[in-house]
Amino acid sequence: MPIIKKYSVKVSEIKNPLPDLYEVTFKSNDKSFSFLPGQFLHLALDPYSPSEPWPESRCFSIRGYGDEGNGDEGNQRQLRIIFSVKGSFTRRMQNEMKVGSTVTLKMPYGDLFSRPQLMSQIHTHSSIILLAGGTGITPFLSLFSSNQFSQYLSPTLYLGVKSKSHHIYGPELLLAQQKNPSLKTKILVETDEGGAGCDFERYSYERGPLDIKNIFSNHGPNSTYFISGPPSMIKNFRGYLLEQGLDPSKIITDDWQ
C-alpha cells in the first residue's frame, strides 16, 4: 500500500441526514490527501504526539474527497467519511466532534479494489457485483467517484436500506450512472416507512432484505462479489458463497470488528 501518513485535520462540515448517521468532512492542515478507491483510514480523537504510541482509533471507509467527481485528484485537502453511532468510540465522535475540532487521521489502508489476484477481473472490469448494506456503500461511493470506475463493464450494485428515507445516496448514484452508464443498480428496502430520500423512480427497487441466494442465482460463480456492510451480513453472505463452491478469491469483503 502507499506510504501511510498521519494528518492533523480540522472538521469542516458535519451533516446528520438520519438519526445516528453522520457525514463528516475533514480539511487537512498541511498535506494533501491521497488514496485509492475502497481504502480506509484510522481516526483518533485524542491528540497524537510523535513521542507517544498512536492513540485509540477506529477504521472508517473513505467516502471521497471534498468535491464530488474528483476522486482521482492527487492534490485534495478535503476528505469525507460516514459513520453510524454504534459503540463508545462513535458515541464520542458524535459528542466531541464539532466544526473546527482537530482530530488525527492515519491513512490510507486497504486494497479492496486493487488486490493483485483481482487484477485480471479488474482489467476486464467485468462481472463485478457490489453488495452494500446501508452505510456499507461507502467504499463503493469512493469507487464511483473515481475515474477508474468508467472502465468497469456492466457492474451491478445491490444496496440494502432499512427504508426509503435511509437511501440518502441518490446524488452519488446519479453521478455514478453518468460516469458509467452500464452500471445497474437495485435498491432493496426493508420497510416502506419514511419519505423518499431520493428519486426512487429512477432505480429498480424491491421490498425486502438483500438476498444472497437470489443474487448468486442471477450472477453465478464467474462473478466477483464485493460485500460491505454489517459484520453479520458479511459473514452470512461469504459463508453462503463459499458453500456454493465459489473460489475465495472471488469474495472480497470490507469488514472490521
Partner: protein, 445 residues
Amino acid sequence: MLDSQVTSWINNYYKKNFKEKNFGYGGGKKFIPGKDPIRYAGRVFDQEELLKLVEASLDFWLTEGRFAEEFSVKIAEYLDVNNVMLTNSGSSANLLAFTALTSKRLGDRRLLAGDEVISVAAGFPATVTPIIQNGQIPVFVDIDLQTYNINIEMLERAISNKTKAIFVAHTLGNPFNLQAVMDLAKKHNLWLIEDNCDAFGSYYNERPTGTFGDISTMSFYPAHHITTGEGGAVVTNNEELAKIVRSFRDWGRDCYCNSGENNTCGKRFSQQFGTLPSGYDHKYVYSEIGYNLKMTDLQAAIGSAQMDKLNEFCRRRVENFHAYQEIFSPYSKYFIQPLATANSSPAWFAYIVTLNKNTAPFTRDQLVKHLNDHLIETRYMFAGNITRQPCFTEREQEIKYRIADHLDNTDYIMNNTFFLGVYPGLSAEMLDYVSKVLKDFITSF
C-alpha cells in the same frame, strides 16, 4: 519543532565542530596536500542533519515514526513510486527484495530451491549472497569493460529453463542497459531486481533507476549518495511484493501495524490463520519466515535531511567524475576510462578506471600503492571476481553456482581496476593534488 535556543546552539556546534573541519560541500577547511587525506567517500552533511537528529532524539521514539514517514515520502516523491520500505541497511534491502520472491503468495512465479538467478561476479557480495542464502543458484555473467555492467549478449545466452530472475546492480552508479535487460526479463517471464544501492540519482532514458524492475533496493551507508549511517530501502510499485517485503522485514508477521499501533486492520481478534485458534491475536500471526530489519526514526531523520540535498550531491558527483576524466585523459593510452551506458545519466558512485596492461609500464597495484602513500584513498572493484573469494573457494562443495561462458573481463578488472572517490566532500584543490600525484607517478616511468 526545536526551540530557537536549541537550534542556535546546534547551528553553532555544527559550525565549530564540523564545517570548519570539512572540505567540499558545506565545508570551509583549506586542504593541505600531503597532510590531509583524500577519502574515497564519506558522510556529507550540514546543520540540518544535526537539527533533525536532535529533534528525533528528543521525540525519543526509538523505532519507525514520523521521520520514517517523512523520509519515505521524500523517496517516493523523488522516484514517483508507491511503496518505500525502509530497512537497516542496503544489504538487508537486497536480502528482503530477493527473499520476497520466494514467498508462496507468488504462486507459480515464486523462486524455489535450485532455480537459477542471473547475476554478476564483479560486484558487491550483497547482490549475490541472498541468492545463495535462499537456496537458488547464481549464474554469473561477465561484464563489459568501460561500463562495468552485465554483458547483454552473454546474459541472453545464460538464460536457461531454470532461470527465474535477474538480480544485478547499476555498477558504481552507471545504469546497466535497462531496455535490453527488461526486454529479456519480459520475454522469458523473469523477475528483475534492480540493485540501485550505488545509483540513487542516476537516470536511464530520463527516468530514475530503481523504477524499472519489479523491485529495487537502495543503500544509505555513508559511502552512498545520501546517508543515514546504516540504512537502506526496498522500493516497488507491485502491491503484492510490497506486502511480502514488509512481512519479511517485520519478523514475517501478517500484521502491518507500525510500532506503537494496534488493530490497524480492524480485525485483530476475528480472523483464523493456519491451524491457530480462531481469533488468535493478529499481531502474532506469522505468514513468512522473516527477520527484523527495520530502520529507526533517528536514522530516518538524517535521511530526510539528506534527501533535500540529493540533487546537489549528484550534481557534484558528476562534476567530480568529469574532472577525473580530464585528469586521466592525457594518459588514456595507459587506461581504459569509464563510459556511461547509452541513454543514461549516471550519478556516479566513483571514478573507476582500468589499466591497459598491454601498454601501461606499471601495474595497478604499483599505482594504487603510490596513491595511497600520498594519502589518496582508492578501492578495488568490490569483490573483483566473487567466485575467487574465500567465501566461495572454501565452500566449493557447498555453494552451487554456474559461470555462463567465461568471466574473462571479470578477472581482468579484478587484476587491473580501481576506483577513486567522487563524493561531494572533495574540493577542487584535492582533485588538483590527485592530478599532480598521478602525473608524478606516470612520468617517473
